[in-house]
Symmetry: C2
């Protein structure tokens, strides 16, 4: 290596912090399940970019990848990864320039190299950068496609949403309103109840922590529940399903109540209910809708620009807070999308 190259390499070498998986959690993830290490980022080779992570999407599905119930799982002593908005710091790639922002599934590192594959440019002029992780990202697309394709909402029907103050739930509920449904949200605090009623326009909010939850839910859904957009699973969903109407549709988007289970959770058998009431219960992998993402994004962006769709974010500041953010999801810490920035 000649002198000039060595200088170049030294100048462009960086150290970066990395969040790795230290141990597979049993139950609620603990800070000790994560490790924060440092490593060197080599100088970019020809055609590579150096990326600096700016916003990290922190989502409940990551829990399954930590323990392996969701594939591909995270490997021990390797970085976690999720959707990240990153800034291009240096680039010798013809398609990307310094200062541009990109979105992709990236490692939980402050800095990392990329050969550009999979990176999608995002435009900070069109929408706030964080929107690309939320309402204009997988979050919004998940709410949009699953509610419309599985839920088949019709004006006048009642849509119940669990995790209604969360990232996906808050958008699903608003889309339900746009479709003409009566929308009832289920939340865990009075503050979230107020949020979904006042900010997101839900017709009713019911707190599942109140002792008479089931009765309160029935009262909020006088004509029963036609569509259930489920982000939580567990006893809350058992209660909701007991009040579902014939031909009801259940969008099984998430089951955060069960992600930390150490043994199989038990509940009322659903199959007889499905038989008696001709129900449809359906899960989905959002990646399977990829060819339709442009359609979804166009519609979501239009609603956003028209002020018909609002969103909320809970942003923790500091790379080291990534584990805290992930653990916080299971404690109901977030309103709307959980993000970490630094």
């Amino acid at each position: 290596m000649d002198y000039k190259s060595m200088i170049y390499k030294y100048k462009h070498m960086k150290t970066t912090k990395v969040v790795t998986l230290k141990s597979r959690p049993a139950g609620l993830p603990q800070p000790a399940d994560f490790a924060i290490t440092e490593e060197t980022v080599p100088a970019p080779a020809d055609g590579q970019l150096l990326l600096r992570s700016r916003y990290v999407s922190v989502d409940p599905y990551l829990r399954g990848k930590m323990s392996g119930t969701k594939q591909p799982r995270f490997e021990l002593d390797r970085p976690l990864n999720s959707k990240i908005i990153a800034e291009v710091i240096t680039s010798t790639h013809p398609g990307f320039r310094k200062g541009e922002f990109v979105s992709h599934y990236l490692d939980w590192k402050e800095y990392q190299l990329s050969d550009g594959s999979g990176l999608v440019k995002v435009d900070a002029q069109t929408a706030p950068l964080t929107a690309y992780l939320g309402v204009l990202g997988i979050t919004g697309l998940s709410a949009y496609f699953s509610l419309l394709d599985i839920g088949l909402p019709k004006a006048g029907e009642t849509l119940a949403v669990s995790g209604a103050a969360g990232a996906v739930g808050s958008i699903a509920g608003q889309i339900g309103k746009l479709m003409g449904c009566r929308v009832v949200g289920i939340v865990g605090t009075a503050q979230k109840a107020s949020l979904i009623r006042n900010e997101f326009g839900f017709d009713e909010a019911v707190n599942y922590r109140q002792p008479d939850f089931k009765e309160a839910l029935q009262k909020a859904c006088p004509e029963g529940i036609d569509i259930y957009f489920d982000n939580v699973g567990g006893p809350v969903s058992d209660a909701v399903l007991s009040g579902i109407n014939s031909y009801g549709r259940v969008i099984a988007c998430g089951a955060i109540a069960n992600y930390n289970d150490t043994e199989t959770a038990m509940g009322p058998s659903l199959l007889p209910l499905v038989v008696y009431k001709f129900l449809t219960i359906k899960g989905f992998l959002i990646a399977d809708y990829a060819v339709r993402f442009p359609e979804g994004l166009t519609q979501l962006a239009q609603w956003l620009n028209e002020g018909k769709l609002r969103y909320k974010e809970t942003v923790l500041d500091g790379f080291e807070r990534l584990p805290e953010a992930l653990i916080g999801l299971f404690e109901g810490l977030n309103e709307g999308k959980m993000l970490v920035k630094w």
Copy 2:
């Protein structure tokens, strides 16, 4: 009333036995939940037919109508009813002649009047009369439409069928074979295992009563289960679902294991599984396919004529045996369709 009319009326008046609902069963129906009474059948008015029941379809769904979980429920001290093949004994209706056979939902009576509405003529020359209650009736149509529409079977996939020796299950499994699936049936006796393998061409039969049922099922489904045609619910289905593949489809056709439950049955929570594996679990009301019945019947009749579809019947002889036949369904008494004739 003139003398001639009185003679006519007397001559045509009949007494008939009737099976009525004496009490709503708690748990497994008991003989005492039924009553067999006698009543007079008035002489047919102008345009009416006198029908003599010949074959009565006895089906698990009737249990739900006895207790009211399935609507419309049977009323106390009123006759039960189900699909019946009846012979026209007398008719002043222009559309029906003495000696013809008709099929419809009729009361559990030996004799009854009809104004012809809803009656469908069945032709004993085309197929045995009982086939119109089974493979060419709601039984066959239920298997056909739900397996094809919900199950979406593809050649090479594995289809598991519970209640595989039963009326619907035995047909669903054979249709699965016609679609190119590997078909594994779940049954409760060695005799039924032999029946579905040797008569109905299932690839494998697994007895759920064996202690290592789950392991035996896994062994019979080395590539997992893509489609589960469920007639039983309960612990058998819990075991099957634990081995279902991603994107699996569950046809919730029946839940006979739960029909006699006196309290809500508990089992492993299904929602997390639906989320993790992108499952579809769907019930159906066969009446919703009514406009497509001709298509289904044409296909089923063709397969039947080509010898590609076989069926089995368990026929009890004697009107008084109707309660016994219904109770017998829950004891696994039947192979194939349960019928009562006299």
